[in-house]
Point group: C2
Chain length 280, copies 2
DNA sequence: AACTGCTATAGTTTTAATCTATATCAAATA
DNA sequence: TATTTGATATAGATTAAAACTATAGCAGTT
């Protein structure tokens, strides 16, 4: 298993086709065929079901994809570590909780790379800022905004949880379930209200502030959690996300600003780009 | 850049010798020489200074080592993902905050893999448990323990912070420094006491519960933090850890238990093994 | 000074990746 | 229904890369 064959795997996965992947990777189709077959042999799993027209990933293929993506991303990051370094200049960005460190890092990395003279400082979102990334609920009257990310709240389950076999979960099935409570969180309050009406109670095993840690504990088997299902936690193959029937909660994340400077316009552009990328 | 050449790099780095690495990797020395030269050309950096007898890593080589190690570790983990799966059976493990999700995951993965009939549940450390992993300070009278991890509290700095150029930081240099406060944390209280005596005050920019998030914000440039410097955060190349002169604080993490069952003995063995590994 | 131990270079051999050609199969189209 | 199209798999050839053996060159040790 090497980076190149994983790159071919990712390409096949995304394009659902050996020949398309071969084109994308500028090699011949039989090379892709052989590389995937070799990878399957090395990992002792079947990664794709071959059809007359294209391929579909197996469960194992689905599991490998985010892992391969991450590994290649990290390899790319290693290469980046050794390139040039820019100078800096203050830009205060307010951030609210639970935005997702990884996607924020990608955005902020782009922002600071695109303008080498910008020195970013992250501050709590209720301080004096140049711009801020917050929940739409948190917008103030003097602020304009652009939409960034929108996420449904879903039930996070360990991948081997019995309920993970269902496409969705009904309220009654939550009764007595070990649960990780995220607090403070409006959605949690909504969930509690809905459960109370239905006469359902949860077995709260931990109270956690950060989404990342909540996901980590779901994975470790501590219980389930009700979380905004954004891309970087959905991509985890070890945690499954399922909608709760009759409970539809969404949060919207926006870039808020009061005046448009050059740096803010640049950030707006990047925010749109990153919002678009993550919705694909 | 591929996994194989990074593996050779790691071997050279650890053995400080091309020929020793060649032996360890079961290839000829000139192949190692060529592979490292190729890697240096690809990354456009010099990784090792060649001596008549052996090599020493450059600053860039030092920087690449943890990154390469992590990448290879992750690649190995991908391979592990596709091996067999065991059945389960309850074992309640209490865990205190700030243990480090990654190293805990490795320990717990080993634990659950070694005994396929054990179903691990993580619970807060003050509940009824089979065993718990806690700070030594948190030990109770009826508990025995084995030592696991010991960590000095160090100042975490963004890698490009001016203070990062020093080997250690004196108290006066902390005055007015943007800071991420970790709370609740005994070491923070000690730090505050020491600073108060010295007439030094910090510019606290955020209050964070989790160590991981604190490190994330240090990296993002929000400020510095005073954190236990355990392996997985030390390995980050984007955050530098420095001792504070005249301030020596250490925390000890232990595996605590009241009775010895088979599963606990197995966990004890693994805890020792993991403690040993992380001290190398 | 001679010996030892190391890295680098040169040229050769081996291995792996990739190529072209084409068989086979299923889906789409006329 | 027959034909065409588009896809993956297999076979054999070609190319590129990895690794080899041999040895030069240099510094350190005895």
């Amino acid at each position: 298993m090497d980076l190149k064959s994983l790159n071919y795997f990712i390409s096949v996965y995304e394009l659902k086709s050996f020949s398309a992947a071969a084109k994308a990777c500028f090699i011949a189709q039989p090379s892709v065929s052989a590389a995937i077959a070799q990878l399957e042999q090395q990992l002792k799993v079947t990664l794709f079901i071959r059809h007359a027209r294209g391929v579909t990933p197996t469960e194992q293929g689905e599991k490998l994809f985010p892992l391969a993506k991450q590994l290649l991303g990290q390899a790319g990051a290693i290469k980046n570590v050794f390139s040039e370094k820019p100078l800096k200049k203050p830009f205060n960005l307010g951030v609210t909780r639970g935005l997702g460190v990884a996607r924020m890092s990608l955005l902020l990395k782009d922002f600071t790379s695109a303008k080498p003279n910008v020195e970013l400082t992250l501050v709590p979102h209720n301080e004096n800022v140049d711009a801020r990334i917050i929940l739409k609920d948190e917008l103030q009257e003097n602020e304009q905004y652009i939409a960034m990310w929108q996420e449904d709240y879903l039930l996070a389950l360990p991948y081997d949880h019995i309920l993970a076999l269902q496409d969705s979960i009904n309220i009654a099935q939550l009764d007595g379930l070990p649960f990780i409570q995220r607090t403070p969180c409006n959605a949690w309050n909504h969930l509690q209200d809905t459960l109370a009406v239905a006469g359902v109670s949860l077995d709260v095993r931990a109270k956690i502030t950060t989404i990342d840690y909540a996901v980590g504990l779901v994975h470790a088997g501590l219980g389930c959690a009700f979380l905004p299902a954004y891309s970087e936690i959905i991509q985890r193959s070890d945690v499954v996300f399922r909608p709760i029937t009759g409970l539809q909660l969404t949060r919207e994340i926006v870039l808020a600003y009061t005046t448009s400077t050059k740096a803010i316009n640049n950030l707006k552009r990047l925010a749109r780009k990153h919002a678009q990328q993550l919705s694909e």
